[in-house]
């Protein structure tokens, strides 16, 4: 009796085949794109919808490796720095506050009574819907954009931490008390270290949303940034620049995801998801 190498419930895919199959969709997309782009350019050499590889490479050179004619900056790097700064501050603030609130709500019933309904309510507000309120109240500067990212991911991460702490058996707290811990000691020296990897995972999983809020707020009101640039050149149908930026953002996202996973794996080898 042999296992099938692809079909059915009992399949066991050989390594080489797995690698090959994994790469296949990407190759297919690229090939399909090249063919489609070629067809369109044969019809109309000024087509802007599906730029040729040469055009894309030229766009990459323009945004990444040459100074912008108007500002003298290297656009891709300037935009990345601006966007990543906003993302970093928003996510960091959300992480720290979600950790503190989720942890303390789960451990102290008194605090929980006060905050639980309120946090639940906040998590139901669609963040993009309050973006205009933020711009009206705080202006179109950095704060509103960072705050949107914060309010977008803070409630979810808080509830995630809350649930994770609740899962830790009460026996641990009791035992820590018998070993001499104070009440705060139980919370910050026994429970907190155990949920740090969970916090990192929760942040990693919410980065997708964080990027969404970042790009949306930059699209509406910003003067530099990855989202800003994409929506700016949209008006000139500059797909070559847009595709470059989209691939670049995807790459950054992939790297962040990988780095966070590796941090958890290395510093918390005992952690089981």
């Amino acid at each position: 009796m042999k296992r099938p190498s692809f079909w059915g419930l009992h399949a066991e895919v050989p390594k080489a085949l797995k690698w090959g199959l994994g790469v296949l969709p990407f190759i297919a997309i690229v090939v399909f794109y090249l063919i489609a782009s070629d067809i369109r350019h044969k019809e109309n050499e000024y087509d802007k919808l599906l730029p040729t590889p040469t055009q894309i490479l030229s766009a990459v050179d323009r945004v990444a490796f040459s100074e912008d004619k108007r500002t003298g900056e290297y656009l891709l790097w300037q935009d990345s720095a601006a966007s990543l700064k906003r993302l970093f501050i928003g996510v960091l603030a959300a992480a720290v506050l979600a950790l503190l609130l989720g942890l303390n709500m789960a451990m102290f019933e008194g605090l929980n009574s006060f905050f639980y309904s309120f946090i639940t309510f906040i998590s139901m507000i669609p963040p993009l819907a309050i973006l205009p309120i933020l711009f009206i109240s705080f202006g179109v500067d950095e704060f509103a954009k960072i705050f949107l990212i914060f309010i977008g991911i803070f409630p979810i991460v808080t509830r995630d931490i809350y649930i994770s702490v609740k899962k830790i058996p009460k026996e641990q707290s009791i035992k820590a008390l018998t070993l001499g811990a104070s009440q705060l000691g139980v919370v910050y020296r026994i429970i907190l270290p155990q949920i740090m990897p969970r916090l990192l995972d929760a942040i990693r999983l919410s980065l997708g949303s964080a990027w969404l809020f970042l790009i949306a707020s930059e699209a509406i009101a910003a003067s530099e940034g990855l989202g800003y640039r994409i929506f700016l050149v949209r008006r000139y149908l500059a797909m070559d620049v847009i595709l470059t930026y989209v691939v670049w953002i995807t790459l950054i996202g992939f790297v962040f995801d990988l780095v966070l996973r590796m941090i958890v794996k290395h510093f918390y080898p005992w952690y089981v998801k």
Binding site: K170, K175, A176, T178, L179, G180, A181, I190, Q194, W270
Partner: protein
């Protein structure tokens, strides 16, 4: 003069359901008390009340003359599961008795001293060479031994154990029973040991307590809101025995007696006639439990 552990008129109720019903217990220092009873009778509840994990509905629990409060270092605990903290190494787990009470700089200063003492207790439980492993790398029996070392380092007034060997296979369980007895001989301490295994209770204990809800009193046989009481209390031979003792006649006779007394739902023994044979056993019955008063 009250004994070391003194429990009087203890009631524990959840809503309308009475779990512990006027429990009285007096324990001298240095006893290994084993507590048995049918499933769900409230053995673990009683242990948790002594520990301070739960609060009694009514009644007194005192250790050394002082009423017990919430969980604190004067009472050590070894649970059946969740014994160790998974994010710390074995050595760090055992050191917690000191490190949890010290600030950051104090911990750095005392690191060598704390490690040395923790290793002393780890060696006592014969796990010195596993000091730098993590709990998930140890077997169940090894984890329980570390948990015992962890609790002992704190030198608690009383060590509470809630079915500590219940999750282990029979051979390991027997090893651990012998191990605990040896430890107790070397370091006399008061132990309160809950188990559902009657043989284990008789083998390990110096005093056997039987908790059961199967009895009769003046509230009638089928009265509602009736909880468990201590229906049996026996003095046992406290010397370290060989496991052949488990096959002896007196052993099996006592097991049968306890089974018919505490584990038989049809049992009709009256509360005033409980088999309280230990010199320290006592009982205060309420009038509605015993019309004779």
């Amino acid at each position: 003069m009250k004994n070391f552990l003194h429990i009087e008129d203890l009631y524990k109720q959840y809503g309308n359901k009475v779990i512990l019903d006027n429990v009285d217990l007096s324990v001298k220092k240095g006893e290994i008390c084993t507590l048995v009873g049918p499933s769900g009778c409230g053995k673990s509840t009683l242990l948790r009340l002594i520990l301070g994990q739960e609060v009694q509905t009514r009644g007194e629990i005192s250790i050394d003359g002082k009423e017990v409060g919430f969980a604190s270092p004067d009472r050590g605990i070894v649970y059946q599961r969740y014994s160790l903290f998974p994010h710390l190494s074995v050595l760090e787990n055992v050191m917690l008795g000191h490190t949890l009470e010290e600030g950051f700089f104090q911990r750095r200063k005392n690191r060598k001293v704390n490690e040395k003492e923790a290793m002393f207790y780890l060696d006592k439980v014969r796990l010195g060479e596993h000091a730098h492993k993590y709990p998930h790398e140890l077997s169940g029996g090894m984890q329980q031994r570390v948990a015992i070392a962890q609790a002992l380092l704190k030198k608690p007034k009383i060590l509470l154990m809630d079915e500590p060997f219940g999750a282990l296979d029979p051979d390991t369980r027997e090893d651990m029973q012998l191990f605990l007895l040896e430890l107790w001989e070397e370091n006399p301490m008061t132990i309160f040991f809950v188990t559902h295994d009657l043989e284990e209770a008789l083998f390990v204990g110096s005093r056997l307590l039987v908790l059961s809800q199967y009895y009769v009193d003046d509230r009638g046989k089928n009265a509602e809101h009736k909880g468990a009481k201590i229906v049996g209390d026996y003095l046992l031979d406290s010397k370290v025995k060989s496991t052949r003792f488990k096959k002896s006649k007196e052993f099996t006779e006592l097991i049968d007696k306890v089974r018919s007394l505490g584990f038989n739902p049809e049992n009709e023994q009256h509360a005033r006639d409980f088999d309280l044979k230990h010199p320290d056993s006592y009982q205060t019955l309420e009038p509605y439990e015993d019309a004779r008063q």
